[in-house]
Symmetry: C2
Amino acid sequence: MDINSNRVENFSGPACLQTTTGTVVTIPLDMAMPPLQVHKVALPQPRTTVQKLRHRLSEIFFPDDPLHKFKNQTWYRKLVLGLQFFFPIFQWAPNYSFKLLKSDVISGLTIASLAIPQGISYAKLANLPPIVGLYSSFIPPLIYSVLGSSKHLAVGPVSIASLVMGTMLSESVSYSEEPILYLQLALTATFFAGLFQASLGFLRLGFIIDFLSKATLVGFMAGAAVIVALQQLKGLFGIDHFTNKMQLIPVLSSVFHHRDEWSWQTIVMGVSFLVLLLTTRQISIRKPKLFWVSAAAPLASVILSTILIVCLKSKVHGIQTIGHLPKGLNPPSLNMLYFHGPHLALSMKTGIVTGILSLTEGIAVGRTFATLKNYQVDGNKEMMAIGLMNMAGSCSSCYVTTGSFSRSAVNYNAGAQTVVSNIIMATAVLVTLLFLMPLFYYTPSFILAAIIITAVIGLIDYWAAIRLWKVDKLDFLACMCSFLGVLFISVPLGLAIAIGVSIFKILLHITRPNTAVLGNIPSTQIYQNLNRYREAVRVPSFLILSVEAPIYFANSTYIQERILRWIREEEEWIETNNRNSIKCVILDMTAVTAIDTSGIDTIKELRKLLEKRSLKFVLANPVGSVMEKLHQSNILESFGLEGLYLTVGEAVADISSLWKAQP
Amino acid sequence: MDINSNRVENFSGPACLQTTTGTVVTIPLDMAMPPLQVHKVALPQPRTTVQKLRHRLSEIFFPDDPLHKFKNQTWYRKLVLGLQFFFPIFQWAPNYSFKLLKSDVISGLTIASLAIPQGISYAKLANLPPIVGLYSSFIPPLIYSVLGSSKHLAVGPVSIASLVMGTMLSESVSYSEEPILYLQLALTATFFAGLFQASLGFLRLGFIIDFLSKATLVGFMAGAAVIVALQQLKGLFGIDHFTNKMQLIPVLSSVFHHRDEWSWQTIVMGVSFLVLLLTTRQISIRKPKLFWVSAAAPLASVILSTILIVCLKSKVHGIQTIGHLPKGLNPPSLNMLYFHGPHLALSMKTGIVTGILSLTEGIAVGRTFATLKNYQVDGNKEMMAIGLMNMAGSCSSCYVTTGSFSRSAVNYNAGAQTVVSNIIMATAVLVTLLFLMPLFYYTPSFILAAIIITAVIGLIDYWAAIRLWKVDKLDFLACMCSFLGVLFISVPLGLAIAIGVSIFKILLHITRPNTAVLGNIPSTQIYQNLNRYREAVRVPSFLILSVEAPIYFANSTYIQERILRWIREEEEWIETNNRNSIKCVILDMTAVTAIDTSGIDTIKELRKLLEKRSLKFVLANPVGSVMEKLHQSNILESFGLEGLYLTVGEAVADISSLWKAQP
């Protein structure tokens, strides 16, 4: 006896099945009928509204169950775990060894050699004094090393946040005319960025940054990189008068409008160093083991170019240099925070936008390297660490900092083992601040421009964009929207458009969900899309439909119309092909993951409509939450026991046997 | 031989199953193994990007396949069908009979007796001359009867749209100081409302109004009804000076601030008539057959109260009456449309908001009665009909009209058979306009106030709100947001907040989807939530998880964290209960209805993470679109053939047999 055939037998009311193409599969009927097994659809365990709310809130705010380690522990152990929870340094410090230190010193010095020139450059990108970039590479890494849980994050100023802060602030306040006010606003914005980041972490609202999808970020970063790179043409070409605007067209027209200011000596030297830096970057990309080539190149270029300028200073004139930088540690800046007056709204807005962006970068970098080395980074804790580090930074003359993409990669490749590499880097910056500042006097501006261009070019990820196009056209659209929005409109608006497109995509999927007619795969209990599975066959007298989305107000009308259309089309097909007419419509609810009151009304209405046309309408396999709502709305009473089945297969079998019993 | 046990046998690597409570179910192993059947997961049929785009667009814009009737028809037939498509009058007119006419005359006269007093009242609600309300009950119903496809819609001015237009316009322009400008703006807003409605229909964007969920509308209409009713205290108490504002607090304080203006004669008569009208309303609600009681009451009250005032006019003073109304038909008003100047933006905004609201009401009413009488109303065609009727109305001194909830119900109860009842009603209004206008001279304002209060009280639907609370707390929240928003902030903002809450609800479901551990229901191939089905049992060495939402950028981090937490918790459970450790994690993708690039990255990363922990990770039953994306992203190559199964059952069976082969 063929053991598998019993499954088909279960429902074979008529003795044949029609395939999509019309051929008829005959099923042996000459065997004993197995006992029909119909399982009841269970309601989820009854819970009170408060229990449901508590469950919901814990899923929203504590999906990772952060306190699970504390369960069933002694008080002393709980204290130790609590300390480790809030200050991850207590986790790794007890086991820290000389071997780890050796790796951390090498990687720390490597990222310091990157951080010092990048710090100076990025501060200029934010229209801040270069020294602020070094201050920001000293205090924040130290604080992060106490609070942060990522082992590989290299903390300091980053290009995107610097650019955005520079753009947003200089739209209202001129950094050249009111440098003190501008610095005050930048520090205040940093404070708000930190406050916002820490609150997101503290309130466990970290999922908000998930709404910046990868697709959006690819476009955003590419757009920002293009803008930043073009802005650097100012330094690279030695132009004195340059636009404050950030859009593609004003920047380009400014470059060509001031052709008389182009200095050929600057251009020759700048472009040479740029080519050198890009070459070292390519070398490190091709051979990851040679990461130190590109890591050391910026500092080497700074030293080389400074020496070059010192040698040439009697011969060549008009090359912009950094000039005098004050020696000494970060001065306190609590008194410069600015919590009143007309610019408060601006600094809050700037703080929130740069806060979100730097947070996104920091968390993404942290997660990337955590996955590579197989450890966990707690998003909400990281947010608190980054936020507190920025709040502390704003009181010690630092501007917005986070974990940098490029420097963290160098840190990882240089073999960093713990966050101590950040302490080493901060120490190197400390030495620079205390003793080496005068050496930067003759460092030319073009080398800073070349360093920035080299760094931001890495943010343009063609391959990611191509992959988006290949896999998901709507993701690609979101990517292009944020790219073009940043390039032609403005940074915050570009970002807003991109988020809008991403949300629109979600809504579109809900508004127009996929529906399909299912057929049975012979000798199984599997029901699958007839269009997709050629082996699937129609079950005579049944129309089995599946809806692949929650049924909400936004799609209930569509789903009702679409189901009626499926029935109409099926009836037309039956008429032209002379088949048995439909007697029962089964709605497979497996993928209907939620339902609201509009959806319930739709189900009710469909049932009424189909009843008037003498069609039976049954539901199969509603998920827990849907079942609960169907129950609460008393719709189940109208369906009765025979209107609800655990699987499509059982529905078909049971209804067929009912028909046989009452022909 | 037990035929059903072979299904369990399929996967019974170890010879026992663990139930949730820890008891062990032993399965007979003493029978022949059936041949293992593993089905391949099929890709959807390959389609080009253009084909996919076309399919997507046709689902978005033509889900009802409106041209299906035209297929395989002769040219002549196509012409006839086309005429009937654009002018539904050609569908029913040829079969129109005297019997139908009789029903339509009765129902037409019934709704006319409601429409005349309500038209005058609603025009006052919109701060327009009362005569405009009658004009609006004449031309638009005639146009609708040619274009509209609902048989029961009673067309004319409605309370909500009148209120919203009155509020929005009078915030910028005073209707008492600049009545001509105000009228111009109202007509222009009507034109824009019509244009917007017709464009939505023409561009087949009708689904936009679906975003006003029923929950939102329940709250919105209740809030608007409260505001409207309180505003009527002006007329009911005979107050002269009254606030223009629409929020609860200013209206109430205005009522009590002007206590010295209260006129006790007005109050006594007004409240008496209000009680009368409310009583007739209750009678008709209790006994639907007596619908004519409440339908005739407003006109009867108008006549009675007018006679009363005429009789008392020498004795009682200071009762506000309608006063002089011009006789004659709608004057043309094309020259009053106002397409330039400072108020253009205002009239466009007002037009769009009132347009959406009146459209929502009209479509909802049309659909309700179509379902009751089992005919179809095409949403997009209705939108074009309503839009064209408003555009034509704006050129003939009419303001925004649509199908009214209350009058359509009366129309239906009075036995309307076709849209001819609208023509009868328009004829009755015509007679009124031509001959009966002077009779309204002494009609008191309090009776209009009483009519409006009686009409809008029907919009407050306690039961719907209670039902929302019972079935869906978040729907109730959206309802309360729009209710309180309208009451305390403003009508458009209340609406915007409610739409925001509804969309937030969708996003919340996506951001924090349900995940569950599945178990097998013994002697079946069914895998269900272990928490929900007590009979379901864990499959040893397997952890079977299901995710009930698309995997998107907005939830990919959460899903990854949640899956890792399930694994951690399962391992802890296994440790305390001394069971076989997990060797394979199966992710049931049945309810994952879509995936984007972030989701694919999550799947990849999960696979990497689990591989490092020596756990096998396989997917079961991805839907068509997900399968397509998995294929395009080349992730399937890394999974290999054994990483993808059509059902959980086959995955369990196949992997168990592999383990047996290579112990």
